[in-house]
C-alpha cells in the first residue's frame, strides 16, 4: 500500500469510506463510543490494579527492605531479649528488630516504623527511598535519637500531615494519644515508597505504641548455613519464616483479586468486541452493493479487505486513544476503591497513590485497536471472499446464512463443550477458568441465530392467524435479516447476561455472608479487645460482666494469629463449642465430636483450598509450648479475610497457649434485659481499661459487616454499571444501524400506503421482539455465567464457595434492560421515518 500507484489507488476508496462514515454519523459515533468505553474500562482497571500491586510491593519493601527472613512470634510478638541473645549468643549481626503499627496524625493515616539505627547499619537493609548509609540519614538518625518521643519522616509525608520540623503533635495509636515531636525530615529518593511512613527509634516506637519489652519481628539477612543453626536455637513459640514465601502468599491473594477485576473489564471488552464486530459487519453489509460495484469495476479482494481493515484500524486507534485518556481519569478513582479493598481484606497499604504505568496505556491502545481489527476481520474476509455478483445480491447472502444456521449452532455447541471440558479439573488455574467462561459465552452466541429462528417459527405456528400483517412483516424482517438481527441479539444477550451473572454472583455472595453471620454471630452483645491479638479480657472483667451486669450467660472467645505448617493462620476457640459459632461446610458428626474433644481441628474454606487440605490431612500449629499437630476433621465457611482460620477446642487452646486471655466475650442477655443499657455499661467499664475496646450488639456487627461487604463490592458495581454502559451504547448502535439499513424498505412501505405511525409501530415491534428474545436468551447464559463465577472463578481466586441464590429482581432487571435498550434503539429510526418523505427515502441509498 506504500507505492505511489497504490496510494493513488486507495485515495478514492479511502475517501469513499471516510464519506460513508461521515454520512452515517450515528453509527460512526456509537461504534467509536463502544470501543472507547471498552478500552476505558480495561485501562482504568488495569491501572488501578497495577497501581495497587505496585503499592503493595512498595509497602512491603518500605517496611521490610531487602531482608530474607524474619523471626516472628504470632500475636504476642517477639521478646526484646531474643534479639539480644541472637546477637550475643549466635553473633548474627545481620539482624535488626522491627516494630510497626498504624497511627493517625490529625486526619492522616500513617505507619509508624520502629528502627534500631545501629542494627540497621550492620543489617544494611535497603528500603526504597531511604539511603540508610548516607551521611544525611545518619545525621538525621542521630538527631532523632537524641530527643525523647522524636520521629522523622519524608518531606512529602510531613507536608501531607501538615507538620514542620520541631513541631510537637499528637500521635494516635491503638493504645491512645501520645505526644511526639517531628525531629527531622529527609529528602526521599523515591517519595511514593516513603509516603505515609514515620520512623522512630525502636525504643521510642515501643513507648509510643505501649509495647515495651516486645517487638513485632526480628528481621534478618541470612546465609543458607545460618538457617538451621538459628532454627535450632530459637525459643519455643517463635518461628523463622522466609520473607519471600510469606509475601508471595499475600501477593497471590491480592493478585487474584486483581485478576477478578481485570476479568470483569475484559468481559466488558468482550461485549465491546462483539458490538464492534456487529457494527463493522453491519457497515459492511450495508455497503455490500457498493462493494459489489467496486469489485465489478476492478477493485480486488485484497483491496476490499484492506479498505475495511484500514477503516477499522483508524477507528480503533482513535477510539482507543480517547479510551486511554478516559481510562486515566477513571483509574484514579478506581485505585482508591482497589487499595481500600486490599486494605480491608489483606494488608495495610502505606502507599495509596495512583502510580502511572506507561505499559498499561500501551496495552490498552493495542487491546482496543486489536479487538477492533479482529472484529473487522471476519466481515472483511467475507466481503473479500464473496463473488462481486453475490455481493450485489443481499438475498443471496441472507439465504446462505439461513442455511448455515444449523452448522453455526453445531460450532457453538462444540465451543461450549470445549469450555465445559476446561472446567472439569477441580484444581484448574484461574486463567483456564476465564478461558472456559469466554468459550461458553462465545459458543452460546453462535447458538442464538438458530434459537431466534426457531423461536419465531414457533411464534408464527402458535399465533399466525392472530397477527396483523404489519406484525407479521416486522417478525419476518427479523427472520430474513438473521445475519444482522442475530448478531445484534447476540450482543445484547451477552451484555445483559453479564449483569445477570455478576448480579447473581454478588447477590449470592451477600446472601451467603448474611447466612454465615446469622450462623456465627451467637449471643446478643460482643465485647472485644480490638488492638491486641494476644487476648485481654481479664478475670476481673469477666467477674464484672457476670456479677454486675447479670447477663444470662457468657461465652469466652480466644482468637490469635499463630504460625503454622501452612503459614500464618488465625486460631480461634469458642467456650460454647464450635457448632454454635461456625457455619460448617463439611464435617461428619464424628469429625465434629473429635474437634470438640480436642483430637482434631476444623479449617476455614479458604485455608483448606489454598493449602490443598482435605479431611484427615494434618496441620501443625506452633505455640510457646511446642508444636501441636492435629488432623483436619472438617471445613467451615469463613469470609473474614483471605488469610485463613483454624478452630480448635477451647480446652486445647488453653492448654497450648496457657498465658492467653480471651479476646472477646459473647454476652447472652437475660430475658427482658435492655441491650442498650448493657452496651452503655460495658463501654463505661472498658473506657478505664488500657487498649482499644469494641462493644457492639450483634445486630450492629451484622450491619457493619454488610457495609464493609458492600464497600468491597462497590468496585464490582461500578464495573458492572460500566459494562452495562458499554453494552447499551453498542447495542444501541447495532440496532440503529440495523433499522437505518432498512430505511429504503420503510420508504417503500410508506409509498405503498402505510402511515408514519404504522411504520414506526412496525419498527417498535421489531426492536421490542429482539429485546425480549435477547432478554430471554440472557437468562440461561447469565445463570451459566453465575455458576462459573461462583463455583470456579471465586473458588479459584479466594477459596470461597457460596450458595446459589437466584434473586428474581436480577432476572426482572435483565429483561427490562434488554427491552429498554431495544426499545430506545427503535426511537431514532422511527423519527427518521417520520422525517423523510417516501420519495426521498426511495432515492437515498
Amino acid at each position: 500500500m506504500n507505492s505511489p500507484g497504490n496510494r493513488a489507488r486507495y485515495h478514492l476508496l479511502l475517501l469513499s469510506a471516510w464519506r460513508y462514515a461521515a454520512q452515517h454519523r450515528w453509527q460512526t459515533w456509537l461504534s467509536f463510543l463502544g470501543i472507547m468505553l471498552g478500552v476505558m474500562m480495561v485501562v482504568a482497571v488495569d491501572l488501578a490494579n497495577s497501581s495497587a500491586q505496585r503499592a503493595f510491593a512498595l509497602s512491603v519493601a518500605a517496611v521490610n527492605g531487602n531482608i530474607t527472613h524474619q523471626i516472628v512470634g504470632g500475636s504476642s510478638g517477639v521478646p526484646d531479649s531474643v534479639f539480644t541473645g541472637l546477637r550475643t549468643e549466635l553473633g548474627l549481626r545481620n539482624s535488626a528488630p522491627s516494630l510497626s503499627a498504624r497511627i493517625r496524625v490529625g486526619r492522616t493515616e500513617l505507619t509508624l516504623i520502629g528502627v534500631d539505627f545501629s542494627s540497621e547499619a550492620t543489617l544494611q537493609r535497603r528500603r526504597p527511598g531511604l539511603a540508610t548509609e548516607s551521611l544525611q540519614m545518619s545525621g538525621l538518625a542521630l538527631a532523632a535519637l537524641t530527643r525523647a518521643d522524636a520521629v522523622m519522616m519524608s518531606e512529602e509525608t510531613a507536608q501531607t500531615a501538615g507538620l514542620a520540623v520541631d513541631q510537637v503533635f499528637t500521635l494516635e495509636s491503638a493504645e491512645g494519644a501520645q505526644s511526639a515531636i517531628l525531629a527531622a525530615t529527609f529528602a526521599s529518593s523515591e517519595p511514593v515508597a516513603t509516603e505515609g511512613l514515620v520512623f522512630a527509634d525502636i525504643a521510642t516506637a515501643q513507648s509510643l505504641l505501649a509495647q515495651r519489652g516486645s517487638i513485632d519481628s526480628i528481621d534478618l539477612v541470612l546465609a543458607d548455613d545460618d538457617i538451621e543453626t538459628l532454627r535450632s536455637w530459637l525459643p519455643v513459640g517463635l518461628t523463622l519464616v522466609e520473607v519471600n514465601a510469606r509475601n508471595a502468599a499475600l501477593e497471590q491473594m491480592t493478585s487474584a483479586f486483581g485478576v477478578n477485576l481485570l476479568a470483569m473489564s475484559l468481559l466488558a471488552l468482550l461485549v465491546a468486541g462483539l458490538l464492534i464486530y456487529n457494527t463493522v459487519s453491519l457497515s459492511v453489509l450495508q455497503r455490500q452493493q457498493t462493494l459489489g460495484v467496486m469489485r465489478s469495476l476492478g477493485v480486488s479482494r485484497r483491496e476490499v479487505i484492506m479498505l475495511i481493515l484500514l477503516e477499522s484500524i483508524v477507528r480503533g486507534v482513535l477510539a482507543s486513544c480517547a479510551g486511554v485518556v478516559m481510562g486515566l481519569v477513571l483509574g484514579q478513582g478506581l485505585v482508591k476503591l482497589v487499595t481500600r479493598t486490599i486494605d480491608d481484606l489483606y494488608f495495610n497499604l502505606s502507599v495509596t497513590s495512583f502510580l502511572l504505568d506507561p505499559f498499561v496505556l500501551g496495552k490498552g491502545l493495542l487491546w482496543g485497536t486489536g479487538v477492533s481489527l479482529l472484529a473487522a476481520a471476519i466481515p472483511a474476509w467475507q466481503a473479500g471472499r464473496a463473488q462481486p455478483v453475490t455481493l450485489q445480491q443481499r438475498a443471496v447472502q441472507d439465504s446462505k446464512i439461513q442455511k448455515q444456521l444449523p452448522m453455526l449452532a453445531l460450532c457453538g455447541g462444540l465451543v461450549m463443550g470445549a469450555g465445559l471440558l476446561l472446567l472439569l479439573p477441580e484444581n484448574g488455574s484461574l486463567v483456564t477458568g476465564f478461558v472456559a467462561l469466554n468459550l461458553l459465552i462465545f459458543g452460546f452466541c453462535l447458538l442464538i441465530p438458530l434459537a431466534m429462528h426457531f423461536s419465531l417459527q414457533l411464534f408464527f405456528y402458535g399465533f399466525n392467524r392472530r397477527l396483523s400483517q404489519r406484525t407479521r412483516l416486522a417478525l419476518r424482517n427479523i427472520q430474513s435479516g438473521i445475519s444482522r438481527t442475530g448478531m445484534a441479539v447476540a450482543a445484547l444477550t451477552v451484555a445483559v447476561s453479564v449483569t445477570v451473572g455478576v448480579g447473581i454472583m454478588v447477590g449470592s455472595f451477600r446472601q451467603t455472608v448474611i447466612l454465615w453471620l446469622d450462623q456465627t454471630l451467637s449471643g446478643d452483645v460482643q465485647v472485644t479487645r480490638l488492638d491486641n491479638d494476644a487476648g485481654a479480657v481479664s478475670a476481673e472483667f469477666e467477674t464484672f460482666v457476670r456479677e454486675q451486669l447479670q447477663v444470662g450467660s457468657l461465652t469466652r472467645v480466644f482468637n490469635q494469629r499463630v504460625e503454622s505448617s501452612a503459614g500464618e493462620v488465625r486460631v480461634a476457640a469458642y467456650g460454647d463449642g464450635m457448632a454454635a459459632n461456625l457455619f460448617i461446610k463439611t464435617a461428619s458428626q464424628e469429625g465434629l465430636q473429635a474437634a470438640e474433644a480436642g483430637t482434631a481441628l476444623l479449617v476455614s474454606e479458604p485455608f483448606a483450598y489454598l493449602n490443598n487440605l482435605e479431611i484427615d490431612d494434618t496441620v501443625t500449629l506452633y505455640s510457646p509450648q511446642g508444636s501441636l499437630t492435629l488432623p483436619v476433621a472438617g471445613v467451615f465457611y469463613d469470609y473474614t479475610s483471605g488469610a485463613g482460620m483454624v478452630a480448635i477446642a477451647q480446652q486445647l487452646y488453653v492448654q497450648w497457649w496457657p498465658e492467653s486471655l480471651p479476646n472477646s466475650l459473647i454476652l447472652h442477655a437475660a430475658e427482658g434485659q435492655d441491650l442498650t443499657a448493657l452496651q452503655r455499661d460495658l463501654r463505661s467499664y472498658t473506657t478505664d481499661l488500657p487498649g482499644n475496646w469494641g462493644v457492639a450488639a450483634n445486630a450492629d456487627i451484622r450491619r457493619i459487616t454488610l457495609t464493609i461487604f458492600d464497600r468491597t463490592f462497590a468496585i464490582t458495581h461500578v464495573l458492572r454499571l460500566l459494562a452495562i454502559g458499554v453494552a447499551f451504547v453498542g447495542v444501541l448502535s447495532a440496532l440503529i444501524a440495523l433499522q437505518l439499513e432498512r430505511m429504503r424498505e420503510y420508504a417503500l412501505l410508506r409509498a405503498t400506503g402505510m402511515t408514519v405511525r404504522e411504520v414506526a409501530g412496525m419498527i417498535g415491534v421489531q426492536t421490542l421482539v429482539m429485546g425480549v428474545l435477547a432478554g430471554l436468551f440472557a437468562l440461561p447464559l447469565g445463570l451459566l455465567m453465575s455458576d462459573v463465577l461462583i463455583d470456579v472463578i471465586n473458588k479459584r481466586s479466594f477459596g470461597w464457595s457460596m450458595l446459589h441464590i437466584l434473586p428474581a429482581s436480577v432476572l426482572i432487571q435483565a429483561m427490562l434492560l434488554a427491552i429498554i435498550a431495544a426499545g430506545l434503539a427503535g426511537i431514532y429510526p422511527a423519527i427518521r421515518v417520520a422525517g423523510v418523505s417516501p420519495a426521498q427515502g426511495l432515492r437515498e441509498e
Binding site: 493513488a8 478514492l12 476508496l13 469495476l297 477493485v299 479482494r301 462481486p388 450485489q392
Partner: protein
C-alpha cells in the same frame, strides 16, 4: 474473435430446487462490434454478462475475451483483467453513493494506477465533453436518473476499455432520455473502437446494434431482419 464462449453452463440452487439458466451456451463477438442481446426476464442475459465480465464463475464451459481465457484465471487475475479491459453500465446506475460524480469516474483510473491529479484531469475533460461539468461535484443522490446513467457511462468509458457491457442501460430512463443515452453510448463505443454487448428487452434499443442475438431458455440465436418479440 474478440469474445468467445464454449458450452457455458450456469445453474442456481433455490431451496431444494435447481434452476439451469445457461446450458452449454456458445457464441462469438468480433472486435469493435455492437451487439444487442435480447431476452425475456429470467432468460439469463445478466448471468451471461456477469460470466463474460468475470464477476461470476461458470459451472462449466469457457469464456475467452481478447484471446485470454477468463475461466482459467484466478479471482485476482479476473479482477485485474476487468479493471483494465472492461467497462460496465447497469440498469440501476450503481454509482458509489459516497463519492461525487467526478470521483466515481476517476476511481477506475486510480485503480489502474493513475495519480489522483491525473485521474481527475482526465475525468474533468470527459465531463466537459459530455456536458456534465456542473454535475461533477454532485453526489449520486443529487442527480436525476438520466444524469446518473450518463455519469455511469462516463465511468465505463474513461479508461477506454476494449469491452463495454451494458445491462439494460436505458431500462430505468424515459424514452427521450433513453434514446439520448443510447446515442451517447454508441458514439463513445465507436469512437473508442470498443466492443459493446448490450443487454436489453427492448427491440427498439436492440435495433441500434450491428447484430442482434436472442437468448431464450439457455439457447442463443442470431436474428436478422424483422422478427417479433
Amino acid at each position: 474473435m474478440f469474445i468467445q464462449t464454449e458450452n457455458l453452463c450456469r445453474k442456481f440452487t433455490h431451496g431444494n430446487g435447481e434452476q439451469v439458466v445457461l446450458a452449454g451456451l456458445s457464441f462469438t463477438l468480433r472486435r469493435g462490434e455492437i451487439v444487442a442481446l435480447l431476452g425475456r426476464s429470467g432468460s439469463g442475459k445478466s448471468t451471461l454478462l456477469n460470466l463474460i465480465s468475470g464477476i461470476d464463475r461458470a459451472d462449466s464451459g469457457k469464456v475467452f475475451v481478447g484471446g485470454r481465457e477468463l475461466t482459467a484465471m484466478n479471482e485476482l487475475e479476473r479482477t485485474m483483467f476487468r479493471r483494465l479491459n472492461i467497462g460496465f453500465i447497469y440498469q440501476f446506475f450503481n454509482l458509489i453513493p459516497s463519492l461525487t460524480a467526478a470521483e466515481n469516474i476517476a476511481l477506475i483510473l486510480e485503480l489502474n494506477g493513475r495519480s489522483a491529479e491525473g485521474a481527475m484531469k482526465s475525468t474533468q475533460q470527459l465531463l466537459q465533453e459530455m456536458n456534465l461539468q456542473e454535475q461533477g461535484s454532485h453526489f449520486p443522490s443529487q442527480l436525476s436518473g438520466g444524469e446518473q446513467q450518463r455519469i455511469a457511462l462516463a465511468r465505463a468509458m474513461i479508461h477506454s476499455p476494449k469491452l463495454v457491457l451494458a445491462d439494460e442501460p436505458t431500462g430505468n430512463l424515459d424514452a427521450e432520455t433513453g434514446a439520448q443515452m443510447l446515442e451517447l453510448l454508441i458514439s463513445h463505443v465507436r469512437e473508442n473502437n470498443s466492443t459493446l454487448l448490450l443487454v436489453t428487452h427492448s427491440l427498439a434499443v436492440a435495433r441500434a446494434a450491428d447484430r442482434i442475438l436472442t437468448l431464450d431458455h439457455g439457447v442463443i440465436e442470431e436474428r436478422s431482419g424483422e422478427f417479433a418479440w
